[in-house]
């Protein structure tokens, strides 16, 4: 993680990471807009979800449930459950988002997977803040624009995502952001622990919970047998 590079170069790297992840969001914004139209929402409601809730998967869940005739309670609870992970993102990002109360309050709205992923992938606090803001603002703008485009113009956007393999952009971006951390043994163990926990929980827990529960991957790193020679030998 730590080769010394200039500030300008660092900003460029972070902007490039953010651009890829923002681009990956665009097709899903279009699908959300189209799904909202299909579920019978008004355009202002669709944009309301994208701007005020601003949490991709939770918006999909709520709109799907409403479209299927689900109750207000079931739609709201499913949506909120998907966003409980924002609480953990907030704890991770808090030190990098210091400042006046109104600034912290404003930046909090950007607390999503993508902004936390780019922010938390940086090592210094100021770059964490920079990455969080660049990715967060970028996704916010593109997500809302594409919601409108999807609502107005697209209905078969789901096929487009599949045909172009765009649904692989998210996984690849998350792996790329994780990659530099894998060089450190405790980080690697935590990552393996988090991945296994999430994988095991997918079929048994509501969506959103596996990602939240992956936090316990940290415990795996602590309980891992610490005899380095045995451990490293086993890996080769």
């Amino acid at each position: 993680m730590g080769e010394p590079i200039s500030d300008e170069e660092r900003r460029r790297v972070i902007r490039r990471q953010s651009a890829s992840i923002v681009g990956a969001v665009a097709p899903f914004g279009i699908v959300f807009g189209a799904a909202a139209a299909t579920a019978g929402l008004a355009l202002w409601q669709a944009v309301g979800y994208s701007a005020l809730v601003f949490g991709g998967s939770s918006q999909f869940a709520a709109v799907e449930i409403l479209g299927d005739g689900g109750s207000i309670a079931s739609a709201a609870i499913a949506g909120l459950l998907l966003n409980v992970r924002s609480l953990a993102f907030g704890v991770i990002m808090a030190p990098a988002l210091a400042g006046a109360l109104w600034k912290r309050a404003t930046m909090s709205q950007l607390m999503i997977d993508e902004s936390t992923a780019v922010g938390a992938a940086q090592s210094e606090l100021r770059w964490r803040r920079y990455g969080f803001l660049v990715a967060g603002v970028g996704v916010f703008v593109v997500w809302n624009l594409t919601t409108v485009i999807g609502f107005v113009a697209f209905s078969g956007a789901g096929d487009l995502i599949d045909d172009l393999g765009l649904d692989a952009a998210g996984p690849a971006a998350f792996l790329a952001l994780l990659w530099p951390r894998l060089a450190s043994a405790p980080q690697r163990r935590t990552a393996i622990g988090g991945a296994v926990i999430a994988l095991v929980l997918i079929p048994v827990a509501p969506p959103g919970v596996p990602i939240l529960a992956s936090m316990f991957g940290v415990a795996v790193a602590r309980w891992w047998p610490t005899d380095e020679t045995v451990d490293e030998g086993g890996l080769r």
Binding site: A39, Q45, A76, G165, A176, T190, A198, G217
Partner: protein, 102 residues
């Protein structure tokens, strides 16, 4: 108010409270060292989980499809130290290619 509007208001308020609790309550107060160690490790667990769930997750079931090929290709590209954008494009291309095979 329509059902969609009620859910919108509940989710907007609830989600904002979840998003802002960390920055507003913790602020820039330093965490205790042990807790800080845990917080330093959390992103690794989180990023790995996001990668896995977005690769094989489909609602409440595990679905192995072309996305997994994309993830493996991304891993190879990262191992070859290719740039971030190239990694993403290769993953998408590989996934699209697998889907194009009848």
């Amino acid at each position: 108010m329509s059902a969609a509007s009620v859910v919108l208001v509940i989710m907007a308020i609830g989600t904002y409270l979840l998003k802002s609790a960390g920055p507003l309550i913790l602020g820039d107060r330093a965490l205790p060292v042990r807790l800080q160690e845990i917080v330093d490790l959390l992103p690794a667990a989180l990023l790995a989980a996001l990668a896995i769930v977005s690769t094989v997750g489909d609602g409440e079931s595990i679905v192995i499809d072309a996305r997994l090929v994309g993830l493996v290709v991304a891993g190879i590209a990262l191992w070859r130290r290719l740039p971030f954008v190239v990694v993403i494009l290769l993953a998408c291309a590989a996934t699209a290619l697998v889907r194009a095979i009848p």
